[in-house]
Amino acid sequence: MDSELIQQIRNQARDLLESGTVKGVIGYERASDGLTARPAFVYELAAVERLIFDETCTHNLVIYLRDKKAEKMAIVVKPCDSRAINLLLNEKQIKRETLFIIGVTCPGVVETSWNYKGQTLQARCQTCQLSKPLVYDFLVGHEPVEWPKAVPYLNVQEMENKSIAARRDFWLGQFERCIRCYACRQVCPGCYCPECFVEQLDPLWVGIRIAPKENELWQIMRAFHLAGRCIGCDECERVCPVDIPLSLLNQKLEKKVKELFDFQAGLSPEEQPPLATFKKEEKLGFEE
């Protein structure tokens, strides 16, 4: 654990709370297994000591900003999380002036689950192109150290090399296990619809049946709603109780959007996402 980094976060939190600049600080604290981390909400000075930061801090805390729009909040943000902030700023879901962003030069996080801490960095960290958050008010941590990054989309290419039938068999087999807990949706910064399509009754897109056909529709439509918007935190995959490889699905669409539009979500709060934008010079698929 980097105690200097943690002290910096706590000092910043203390200053912000004492001065009344923020109502609360959203950060990380130790989980009940004594090993991993969990999101922490600190509203009082006495609780500042609970804040930590280490390689188990995998959670994307940006999702909690959507519930705290009324107050100014401080938030601890990793580089990947900062892309989520840009996404939500761009889509007008949060206001910059309500945030105090404590950015962390993150050295990567490991795979964690209850009472388990992995030894190697998560796949998303191994391919991460960012060494510090893209947006912040205060930066904590050491000078970012460059380490050789893995080539992205190798797992996507491996799947692309398989036949359509093989791919279909693979994904339908995965979706069969889905129990529609919607943890993937709830943990995703990009999923903020007040009424998700899957909850709509009129028109009834999916319905309540927890069964393969409905699961398939749910999974594929959510992936498509995130095309060009997913910022690759892979939290959906971590939270899935039945181990569906959601990051593989999302990365396929991310790769496609990158190839077609040379665009990746969350790199800037200004750049318009391609699937929400129409440019006259884009081909319409027929001769004009």
Binding site: S32, I179, Q186, V187, I208, P241, D243
Partner: protein, 321 residues
């Protein structure tokens, strides 16, 4: 274990099976498929009594006349390898599902299912069954209980239903039952009273800050049983479908007109604990938690029911009650 193959002749045998990284109760066709070295299954066996989705009944129109087609339970079932906590979970679900008027589908499944339990020789870090009225080797709610020993299993026949499963008389064992593993204690004595007393405490809103309001805790829990019912119609036929639902999801209390009784995260999170620790015991005289720890293990943001119970006891102690 060969004996299990014999049971397969006229019955469906459900047993823990390794599926990718999970351990799931699945129908098996031979004993080799059964996983015997596991902590606990990813999902509780409740899904075999209250399936994630089922058709309650369907209706068809024949010659202009509506005809009701009730759902049937096909075969007798044996569930092998369930833990004592999960067996207690089923017994707790009997409260709401078997009291008059009984849920006939649940009732039929329950009558036609035999339970072969497997004692825990080891506890998992999330286990706390001894704090909520169960034990790693509790035989109260199974038909047969197996306890693994060095060269086999000690078999305890608990009920007549269990006796009927055995092909022939077993050898009387001289072996004593090994002691069950030690478990951490969770304070539960005053938890019902505490939930009642601290209903309006800001504790719930604070705890709910990190809750995702997904359905994981309710779905992995052996005793959560909320469901949604919807009719699907198609060209003169109708199907009434029941599926799992959870009090945690955002629209759970939304009614016609858009009003939501539990509009806030804190109210929804409080509901799950209130149901399990207060309302259920008020009606059925036992808290609806069996200490399996699945919610603790599966919650993506570490909302830990043991911590909640301990926090509530502390609130109770501070208030001087």
């Amino acid at each position: 274990m060969r004996w299990l193959d014999q049971l397969l002749q006229e019955r469906i045998l459900l047993a823990p099976v390794r599926v990718e990284g999970l351990i799931l109760f699945q129908p098996v066709s031979k004993v080799e498929e059964v996983a015997l070295d596991f902590g606990n299954t990813t999902f509780s066996p409740k899904e075999w009594f209250l399936p994630p989705t089922e058709t309650l009944f369907s209706m068809q129109r024949n010659d202009g006349q509506p005809q009701l087609v009730p759902s049937m339970v096909e075969k007798d079932v044996v569930i092998f390898g369930l833990r004592s906590c999960d067996a207690k979970g089923i017994a707790l679900m009997d409260g709401p599902f078997l009291r008059e008027p009984a849920d006939t589908l649940y009732q039929e499944r329950r009558t036609r299912t035999s339970l072969i339990g497997l004692s825990c020789r080891q506890a998992q870090p999330e286990c706390f069954c001894t704090s909520v009225g169960s034990a790693p080797n509790d035989s109260s709610h199974v038909d047969i209980l197996l306890t693994e020993i060095e060269d086999g299993y000690i078999v305890q026949v608990i009920t007549d239903k269990g006796k009927a499963l055995l092909p022939q008389a077993l050898v009387e064992s001289e072996e004593a039952l090994p002691p069950p593993p030690e478990l951490q204690a969770v304070p539960t004595k005053q938890v019902t009273q505490a939930v009642r007393e601290f209903f309006n405490n800001p504790y719930w809103g604070r705890l709910a800050d990190r809750c995702l309001h997904c359905n994981i805790c309710a779905y992995v829990c052996p005793t959560c049983y909320c469901f949604d019912v919807r009719d699907y119609s198609n060209k003169g036929s109708l199907e009434r479908v029941r599926s799992w639902d959870s009090c945690q999801s955002a629209g759970f209390t939304r009614i016609a007109g858009g009003y939501e009784r539990r509009a806030t995260k804190g109210a929804r999170l409080r509901q799950r604990f209130s149901h399990k620790l207060l309302y259920f015991p008020e009606e059925f005289h036992d808290i609806a938690c069996v200490g399996c720890g699945r919610c603790v293990k599966s919650c993506p943001v570490n909302i830990d029911i043991r911590e909640v119970m301990s926090d509530l006891e502390q609130l109770e102690a501070k208030s001087g009650s």
